[in-house]
Symmetry: C2
Amino acid sequence: MTNTLFLPELREMLAESDAAGLAEFCTTLHPARTAEFMEGLTPEEAWAVLQHADDATRAEIYHYFELAKQIAMIETLDRTAMAGLIGHLAPDERVDILKEVNPTVVEELLPLVPALERRDIQRLTAYPEGTAGAVMTTSFARLSEKSSARQAIDDLARQAANLETIYYLYVVDEEDHLRGVVSARQLVSAMAKPDTPVGELMERSVVSVQVADDQEDVAEVVAKYDLLAVPVVDQERRLVGIVTHDDVLDVMREEAIEDVHMLAGIAPLEHSYLDTSLVTLAWKRGMWLTVLFLAGLLTALALQTYEEARMTWPWLAIFIPLIVSTGGNSGSQSATLIITALTAGHVSSRDWLRVAVREILSGVMLGGLLALIGYGVAMLILNQEVSHGTQVPNPTTAAIVVPVTLVLVVICGTLVGAMLPLLFHRVGLDPALMSTPFVSGIIDIVGIVLYMNVALRLLVVIAGG
Amino acid sequence: MTNTLFLPELREMLAESDAAGLAEFCTTLHPARTAEFMEGLTPEEAWAVLQHADDATRAEIYHYFELAKQIAMIETLDRTAMAGLIGHLAPDERVDILKEVNPTVVEELLPLVPALERRDIQRLTAYPEGTAGAVMTTSFARLSEKSSARQAIDDLARQAANLETIYYLYVVDEEDHLRGVVSARQLVSAMAKPDTPVGELMERSVVSVQVADDQEDVAEVVAKYDLLAVPVVDQERRLVGIVTHDDVLDVMREEAIEDVHMLAGIAPLEHSYLDTSLVTLAWKRGMWLTVLFLAGLLTALALQTYEEARMTWPWLAIFIPLIVSTGGNSGSQSATLIITALTAGHVSSRDWLRVAVREILSGVMLGGLLALIGYGVAMLILNQEVSHGTQVPNPTTAAIVVPVTLVLVVICGTLVGAMLPLLFHRVGLDPALMSTPFVSGIIDIVGIVLYMNVALRLLVVIAGG
């Protein structure tokens, strides 16, 4: 959503080369707000405005632009200028952006980026997407165990300008092995005794993650221990980077969307909806839709088998969609409840018996309620069928088939919907694979078999009586 | 999941009153790990272990216990001891826990809590659930504008021990009005010129939230501006608290679960699955299930209307669940894609035309694929029906009804599934209200009407030809 409030003023200032005004615009607001007001500018105009900010502020404002604009600027503007900008971006951010830029442009740009930053980009690019290595930043504060608190503060004052975060200060030995961590708070508190060595202040048992760990696990660790950042170490426990709280928020948002997609039977998308090509989207959806369709074919085969029931009581067809969708809905609800409870750690597969009892009781309550409504409506419809001349012997009694089936199908729905994710969890599969349409598909078949059998048993008795 | 690794050792140490061992256990590990190892202990045993930690560490370990254990300890152990513990907990945390504790116990406890903390508890409890006021903490660092950087650091060294966070230092005037913010990093960098007044270092345009703001909006602000904490102000812009990054993570996880529940047609739960009573759960699910059931009744009424088609071609019933569920699945997928894209800000209601075109094309591709499979299976089934002696004139041609309906219903599904959330968003409603079972319910009815009409048009022509 483009904020066009300032666009005329900005364009006027550019036309008049109002350096003072533009410099003020670049520095007065939070860079995120400044970026918002610049959304409507072309890449050239945006770059002209950013000329009036210092290197750090320019990089900060650019950081808050939308990805599409960031890419357009890098691809279309002067290569040397862009290489300079890239040098000032956070290490993890520039790698994320460069991954999306046209590779030919990247090839032209990289030789222009200062050697130190270039090597850093090449190192970070090597980590596979979705790992700690791919989301970490390489700019963080390092301290030596032997420094005093006073020296450490002085050290930091020098390093601070270039660092993304100094909330945790990691203590390393000569070979960069992670030895401990000091928080900024501890260091500041220690200023009462400025000669205390860092080695005495530091916490030795540091929570860390491996560079190849899944980003979702990294986010879990940060959330569990209430951390601001978590150090990333390689196999020799050398400190190679940190993952900060804002990256964790991004990861959690990404993963939450992925989970919701999986629950609806859509394979995870790598880009946003509008940035995903139609063919990719069709493929991501089509895979699951086809699997569900094949499961759906089983309902047709099941119905075919019950030819006798269908032919004897053709009115049964009227209630098929109602019964099937009610079973599916109750099953989806249970599956969703259990999958979210499993993800949040509120339920484990050992709780299966308790869950089963709860779901059966829920099924009885919910099914009972719906059966009452269903019986009334079924009676009305069947009596109308009779008045239309269709043969429904004893419609008021025959209508009992509908509520009886409803109670059974809702109980099956809640039970199967809750047990399948627990089973998947138990055998080590992602319970979200047991997507809600998949649960519905299974309940569809169960529902039809129940419906036909209830009809055969009850209606034969009624006809006989 | 209880970690029982250390339980025997812990119980042995307790039996032997091994003070040194227990003190070491309490301090060596990260408090979250210590808490994990203590999960299996009874409240009395846990409290006995915690006697060997100092007040701050004890509160920290307690913070990481599961809510059920936290409540059990407060409700069953010595009131004076618990009042002391409560005094050492973070302001926002103790309020969250006390809300769950038996009110009689709270009444007995509160008079034992130190006056300062007690007033703080009463103030925080007054904010409604789900607002910034209810998630914020009242312990944060305040600085005066007139202090020098050096004075500020000394000030902090005194305050730091009692504070949850010092990453941002809020600058206030005499009446506590929020004037600006200084980061710990800026303050440390300024140690090069220790006489710089804080007023010169501070950022004046501070991103803040109102005490009555929805917690979801607070989380959005923190995520958007990449903040570690956001100040909470009252209507006169007086600083009353801060919401920190770890609370934001919790809010985001809560909201993500709520969104998933809403998508499955479950009203938001206040507690976790196993902590919610069966009656509450049945109510939260029953509301929506009943609404969906009433919508489902429309499918029965629709089918009743097409009596002629049902009676002339009774085999049509075989494919009803397949057609209905395929439409529902494609609709749920589209609804989920659009709802998540709306939530993430990747799509807005102004994009409706582009989304509509994309979804129709997706519908054509997906529907076409499923129609091919569907035609083959429908042909096989109808030919079998004929061989069983059922009357299906010209089964190979009649089977065309199935693929034609499938293409139409999938296109309707993708289009309706995508447009309804956009419409809801446009008129200011939460698009997640357009839950996937609701979309399925609508497509169910559309699917039946399409199926019956396609059958009537095509089969009459075939019979006539």
